[in-house]
Symmetry: C2
Amino acid sequence: MTFSLTILGSNSAIPTLSRNPSAHLLNVNERLFLIDCAEGTQLQIRRFHIHFQRIRRIFISHLHGDHYFGLIGLLNSLHLLGRKEEMHLYGPPLLEEILDLQLKASTTTLVYPLIFHPLSFGSYDLVYDDESVTVHSFPLLHSIPTCGFIFREKKAGRKIRKDLPDDVKIPLSEMKNLVQGDDVMDQEGRFHRNEELTTDPPAPRSYAYCSDTAYTESIIPYIQNCDLLYHESTFMQNMAGIAREKMHSTTVEAATLAKKAGVKKLLIGHFSARYDDLQPLLYEATHIFPETFLAEDGAVIRI
Amino acid sequence: MTFSLTILGSNSAIPTLSRNPSAHLLNVNERLFLIDCAEGTQLQIRRFHIHFQRIRRIFISHLHGDHYFGLIGLLNSLHLLGRKEEMHLYGPPLLEEILDLQLKASTTTLVYPLIFHPLSFGSYDLVYDDESVTVHSFPLLHSIPTCGFIFREKKAGRKIRKDLPDDVKIPLSEMKNLVQGDDVMDQEGRFHRNEELTTDPPAPRSYAYCSDTAYTESIIPYIQNCDLLYHESTFMQNMAGIAREKMHSTTVEAATLAKKAGVKKLLIGHFSARYDDLQPLLYEATHIFPETFLAEDGAVIRI
């Protein structure tokens, strides 16, 4: 089952010709989730050959422009291209007011249903749940209300062995029990213990998105042991003072948090435009947490 | 004196990788005027090596997204980069409300003065006037209130001949009279007729921006005889029905209007994304009005 992330933007604050600001696209079993949507995100989606009508849910972490100024343009393009399917949008309550005002200004009635889900920014909340994934939001520590998101795959059923003898035929009515882990009878009435017929399913995977935030250990319970943590690293460690003042994080802070939370991999991004070369940022982070990677525009990470 | 136009976007409706939506940058004597500001305009400004802090005035023709979705991002970037100078913004009254709401959402107080000038959309109005240029707005014919703009250079003073005899010295106090066309005395008390000492100044130039609009001859009085007319040509002539329905224009309509208005050159743009190759559009227009050119992203037109 697919569980992969495409980086659509890795810069902070300002778009540049080499890095667009924040937007991530998560593919969970061919369901596409967009997380943040800076100006230019719709062009990044085209650039990286993603069919944007396939996006079903959009999550906006907060209302700084480098995380949502591209949203109205994307929603408008989907409208002009004749989208029919519902779009679900999760974000701060004021976002709905902003979009409504912009749609009113152009006398636009979207041709598809846009369903807005206001987020609470004070607690750990289940905001989405289907048969294969859950999404929770949780508060980050920033200058305006901001939340992180954690996407957790649900545990899949047990996998039926491919090397079963030809004469073992399991009735369709028993298949559900079998993948749930029960022992079953075959069509000949023979009893089989579950582990003869199945193997363990792959471990469910998880992806946590934390941008923008100052260093805070308060988020560790929400992201603990996740497979991939994206944590902003706007600055190198020599700018820790500025980072604190602007309520952003450094490379060392992101890596320290990843280590304390026991995550498997760390992805750093939301880089200040002052850094052309990102290798020094990677170096600082890997020194503390070796499994660190750079979120670069267009990178695809298979989790 | 510079009077040149840079095309920052030439597509209609939706940004594509080859064409961004509407934005034009007019340089009048090194004063930069931005006209419309689609999503991605700030990146186009970078791409075409324009120093965007030099922009002093922004004109927004109407509130369809492909003409203004990039404005808040540009204003925000100027803020983050520490602009100090005033920015003057001319647009529909509701634009101010949209920007205010977005600034409020991010608790941003711009570090530079943003001065909003609401446009009237029902009449021909002088909206800007300085020593070298005037800007008028005038109503276009579109599905929401939309205006065009005409930029007219003011007549420069008469040019003093470079080949004056060495013994003809004009007192500084007489120079103003001389460039205004008066006859003057030189330092020796000799009388000179103006035409002995000066030549005609270059003819003042003008640029008219008309996007978005259906074909309407009502605008001819405002744009008559202008040096360069930009008129949208969203569609080819075989889509005249769709053009009318959507209140846009075809190549043939733009060229017909250019001919009737007696303009010197016509620039067509705001192309539907369905056209990869623009040569057929140019062909249709030049058939009626030979001095037609394509507005292509990055093109610089010296007027």
